[in-house]
């Protein structure tokens, strides 16, 4: 049976997502820190966006860089630095692609009876930053990007009078 994913705004600056994964923490951690494995799930097929490259140097002070899109002209990069790396239990990284500093993401992996509770926490620099993200829809990630691409496509179709 499918596990439930929850998402809530915990405070003015925080968003929290939780999900239980049916595997021990070391396996979930592996899927999260091995770029080849990460690439396979971070962009779900339903998002319809392709991940062109994925570089991850998972250690304190190491960088990651994800590039989405089909070619150079329409690609979009997400990058940042790992601030904390505690194998099998905790990862913290920054999101530096935003103009005035994006959220800091903390993921914890808590193993219980062979299953792992994953808690993902995004802490925004200010209430305004999170409100702004919600207003612009920008951090809904791949999904939003997909809608934007669809909008663009529809716009070009209507321009052509189709």
């Amino acid at each position: 049976m499918k596990n439930r994913t929850t998402a809530e705004r915990k405070s003015e600056r925080e968003l929290v997502v939780t999900r239980t994964v049916n595997a021990p923490a070391h396996i979930v951690f592996e899927a999260w820190t091995n770029p080849e494995l990460f690439k396979r799930w971070w962009v779900p097929k339903s998002a319809g966006v392709s991940l062109r490259s994925c570089e991850m140097d998972v250690r304190v002070g190491g960088k990651y860089r994800l590039v989405f899109g089909h070619d150079d002209s329409n690609s979009m990069a997400f990058y940042g630095t790992y601030i904390e790396v505690t194998p099998h239990s905790r990862l913290v990284w920054t999101n530096e692609e935003g103009e005035d500093g994006g959220p800091v993401t903390t993921v914890t992996f808590e193993e219980k009876g062979g299953k792992t509770l994953v808690v993902l926490h995004d802490l925004y620099p200010s209430k305004e930053a999170l409100d702004g993200a919600i207003a612009s829809g920008s951090t809904a990630g791949g999904m939003n990007e997909t809608f934007e691409q669809l909008d663009e496509l529809l716009a070009t179709l209507s321009d052509k009078g189709l």
């Binding site: 003015e12 049916n22 595997a23 799930w41 994953v118 990630g141």
Partner: protein, 121 residues
Amino acid sequence: MAQYTRTRLDASFAALSDATRRGVLEQLGRADASISDLAEKFHMTLTGMKKHVGVLEQAGLVTTEKIGRVRTCKLGLRRLEEEAAWIERYRQLWDARFDALDEVVEELKRKEKVHGRKKRE
């Protein structure tokens, strides 16, 4: 931040503690209204109604907008609706991501099992 949240809660409870203000919220739930409409409905002076609306506005329960010479009041929920819709999209993205993660994880578990068996042999 806890302090701020408490202040805001205090403001909304204080705003809701008054029967007229609760009535105004119910009224606005049915339709937007101007301050003079509200004053008339609740048999109050314009000044009295302005004060009530001010309290509701401070608590974030009502928003007002001046169009020409009339100040129109509406429920202050729009922002929350937008926020709820955004958070639901965010949840869906993570839900899809975790479903894909489950597949990767199942594969790793199978590999580990095979590997473990080999080790024992």
